[in-house]
Amino acid sequence: MPMSQAMLNTQAPGPADEKVKRHTISILVQNKFGAFNRIAGLFAAKGYNIDSLSVGPTEDEGVSRMTIVARGDDQIIEQITKQLNKLIDIVKVIDLTFESFVDRELVLVKVHSTNDTRPEIMQIAEIFRAKVVDISPKTLTLEATGSQQKVDAIIKMLKPFAIKEMARTGRVALKREFQGEV
């Protein structure tokens, strides 16, 4: 069940607070009635900001993995992970920020195109190894995958052509097997 990030984006980043960092938190949660709500509710109740949130099944069918990107200083993030750990349905919480990890995000972008601009858009798609997944006389829909920076970059490149609609999955992440030494 992929979740839109938009609904949880409650607040713009604070004014250049240097202690505020972006954290990627990976949560394994039991597939229990209302479990997802508890997590979202915790963020809302404590006033924590979520940048993105994604959730989907894992290799264990009783458990889902939720990846949350949240902003805060170290103390706030420590509180978030502690509070998450208190939820009975949660199996494991890892703040990946302190680990080496791989992360990916997927975006679908529907961009305005004409006969004139279509080749240029396709060229950009190629550079980003994005796929064309839908086409109409007036639009082109691209699918791009990559790190958040890469997704940000393709969106930036497509903006001048007028983006009609866009859907981002939010970040998913896994800890790397080899930490540091490789």
């Binding site: 229990k32 509710g41 502690k82 208190k86």
Partner: protein
């Protein structure tokens, strides 16, 4: 998210007879040794109430309001250490429990609340008396459940009791759809529970305990700052032993009262906004602060940056999220307070604190707790006298406001689980039903409910329950005709603009009598002791006493919200010829000294 398929159904159950969900509910409570159930029936729970009808093992107490039921369960749990259990119907029955549940969450009280629910197929339909109580209570419960299959019921109840009582205790709610309670299955109560990520840490990390001992052994001005966790983990003996071994002064939070005897020379009473002058000074100037089962609440710390700023801080708590939540600490120890204190005691040495204790004693002499005393009754005097008459051998259940602070200051608590109040949520209307619940759990000590005239009227309907059961409860109302604490703030910080704080009250004595309760009233200081003695001596059921006290009096000392000890206000000195100049004397009380009232100053009687 999909619900997990229920695979482990009927694990070769001994060809037992089939039981309805309602019967399983009752059997499960008996298996959990539940003796008292506070509740109120309704449409969605009618089947459950039918199953309860012939059961003599469980005493069901019919309260007069569901909020009363939850507070009663809280009082029962606080007084006994056992979980308080509540059963109410769906919709309004369920929503009426929310305040009590939130109160229990804030004060870490183990509750298991059962709510009726409309049948599964009607959930989400805006059915009659439907409320999404699981959604509503999610942020104010430790955990909650909606039971969707009767085969999950026994397991769910087992988990709920385990979660409510273990670790940092809290309320757990179970929502019971009417049709699930009518479904049948075999009953097999599970012997134990395993939850995938829930296993509270009980033994503190030994390395951390050693580190704490090192810090303590180097201290010259230590302070033990003790919260409700010490009482929840039954750690009063360990705490007392540690304090005496270290010769370390002890201050407690509101919920820590009773964990350390207040007549001990090391006792400093409560700290914080309305704490004693000397405890706040000691915390400010200490070099090592040992926080025990406390959470650095804003009513304790004031301005967090200035709170024990120079001190090395050790924090012992069973809840990892309580540590470094408000104040960064140097040595955190996650674990059960009782076990950690016991381990710590073996590693610490007696400290040389003579000078430190002398400094604190000087503060005690200069700034004792004090109040004006004269013809007009002072609430402080009522509570102090009550403390003297009972010698601390009573369970005192207070409400919220000025009387609550005065009780905390002047009663002199001596035993754990003898002080019960609503601290975190600050719920007016708590005292009467909570005291009622405490009586159901404890008959070894007299139980005394103290409320203000405002709070008493927020749950006074429980007078009917109390009289019906002829409970030996002492019900005291401190009547100043005001919402006193709000009035105090308006006086001190809002230019005496008394907005909506004056109450027009009924005749409380006649009200109590109408319920069938013996009732007394004292209107002058000279009558107080007599009324208290008569009330305490009353043996035939409940007794009510109203104390008509000075209308405008303030709780001191006071550190205004968010401030530091530099802004601490002590009881003002009497102004000759000022307000209330009616021959009043100033009575003083010092913690950890012989409890006597000495007269410091006389005010000329020419008001």
């Amino acid at each position: 998210m999909s619900r997990q398929a229920h695979e482990e159904e009927s694990p070769a159950a001994p060809a037992g007879r089939l039981m309805t969900g309602a019967e399983i509910f009752v059997r499960s409570l008996i298996a959990e040794n539940v003796e008292v159930l506070f509740g109120y029936p309704g449409g969605a729970t009618i089947g459950v109430y039918d199953a309860l009808h012939d059961i003599s093992d469980i005493n069901h107490v019919l309260t007069r309001h569901e909020q009363g039921a939850t507070h009663a369960a809280e009082g029962y749990a606080k007084a006994t250490g056992k979980p308080g259990v509540v059963l109410v119907t769906s919709g309004p029955g369920a929503t009426n429990t929310v305040t009590g549940i939130a109160d229990a969450m804030m004060d870490s009280i183990p509750l298991v609340v059962f709510t009726g629910q409309v049948p599964l197929r009607l959930i989400g339909n805006d059915a009659f008396q439907e409320a999404d109580i699981v959604g509503i209570t999610r942020p104010v419960t430790k955990h909650n459940y909606l039971v969707r299959d009767v085969r999950e019921l026994a397991q769910t109840i087992k988990e709920a009791f385990y979660i409510a009582l273990s670790g940092r205790p809290g309320p757990v709610l179970i929502d019971l759809p009417k049709d699930v309670m009518a479904q049948k299955t075999t009953f097999d109560y599970p012997g134990s529970v395993t939850l995938r990520n829930y296993a509270p840490i009980l033994d503190g990390n030994l390395r951390q305990i050693r580190k704490a001992a090192e810090v303590i052994n180097a201290a010259s001005r230590p302070v033990l700052y003790v919260g409700g966790g010490a009482i929840l983990s039954n750690a009063a003996p360990e705490l007392t032993a540690l304090a005496r071994k270290l010769r370390c002064p002890v201050t407690t939070t509101l919920h820590g009262l009773g964990s350390f005897p207040e007549n001990d020379p090391l006792a400093m009473g409560m700290l914080g906004m309305h704490g004693t002058w000397y405890s706040n000074m000691a915390v400010h100037f200490c070099d090592v602060l040992i926080a025990v089962g406390a959470r650095f609440d804003d009513r304790v710390t004031g301005n967090v940056d200035a709170f024990a700023a120079e001190a090395k801080k050790i924090h012992i708590d069973i809840d990892p999220s309580a540590i470094s939540k408000n104040v960064k600490v140097d040595v955190p120890i996650v674990g059960d307070v009782k076990r950690v204190l016991a381990a710590l005691q073996d590693l610490v040495n007696p400290l040389e604190t003579k000078d430190w204790l002398r400094t604190i004693d000087a503060w005690k002499d200069e700034h004792p707790l004090r109040y004006r005393n004269g013809e007009e009754i002072r609430a402080q005097y009522v509570i102090q006298k009550l403390g003297e008459i009972t010698e601390g051998n009573a369970i005192v259940v207070t409400d919220v406001g000025q009387h609550q602070m005065w009780a905390a200051q002047f009663f002199n608590f001596a035993h754990p689980r003898t002080h019960i109040t609503s601290g975190g949520l600050g719920t007016m209307g708590f005292s009467l039903p909570a005291a009622m619940g405490a009586v159901f759990g404890r008959r070894d000590l007299p139980v005394i409910s103290i409320s203000g005239d405002g709070g008493f009227q927020m749950n006074s309907q429980e007078m009917a329950t109390i009289v019906q059961h002829r409970l030996p409860l002492k019900i005291f109302v401190i009547n100043n005709g005001f919402l006193g604490m709000v009035r105090q703030w308006q006086e001190l910080f809002w230019r005496r603009r008394y907005s909506q704080v004056e109450l027009a009250n009924p005749d409380f004595v006649r009200l109590a009598e109408a319920y069938g309760c013996t009732a007394f009233r004292a209107t002058r200081t000279s009558e107080v002791e007599d009324v208290l003695r008569k009330a305490m001596a009353h043996t035939d059921g409940p007794v009510f006493a109203e104390f008509v006290v000075a209308k405008e009096d303030n709780v001191y000392p006071m550190i205004p919200a968010g401030q530091t000890i530099n802004e601490m206000i002590d009881t003002p000195d009497p102004v000759p010829g000022g307000r209330n100049g009616s021959g009043d004397a100033i009575a003083t009380v010092e913690k950890g000294k012989a409890r006597k009232v000495s007269v410091h100053a006389h005010v000329p009687s020419n008001a």
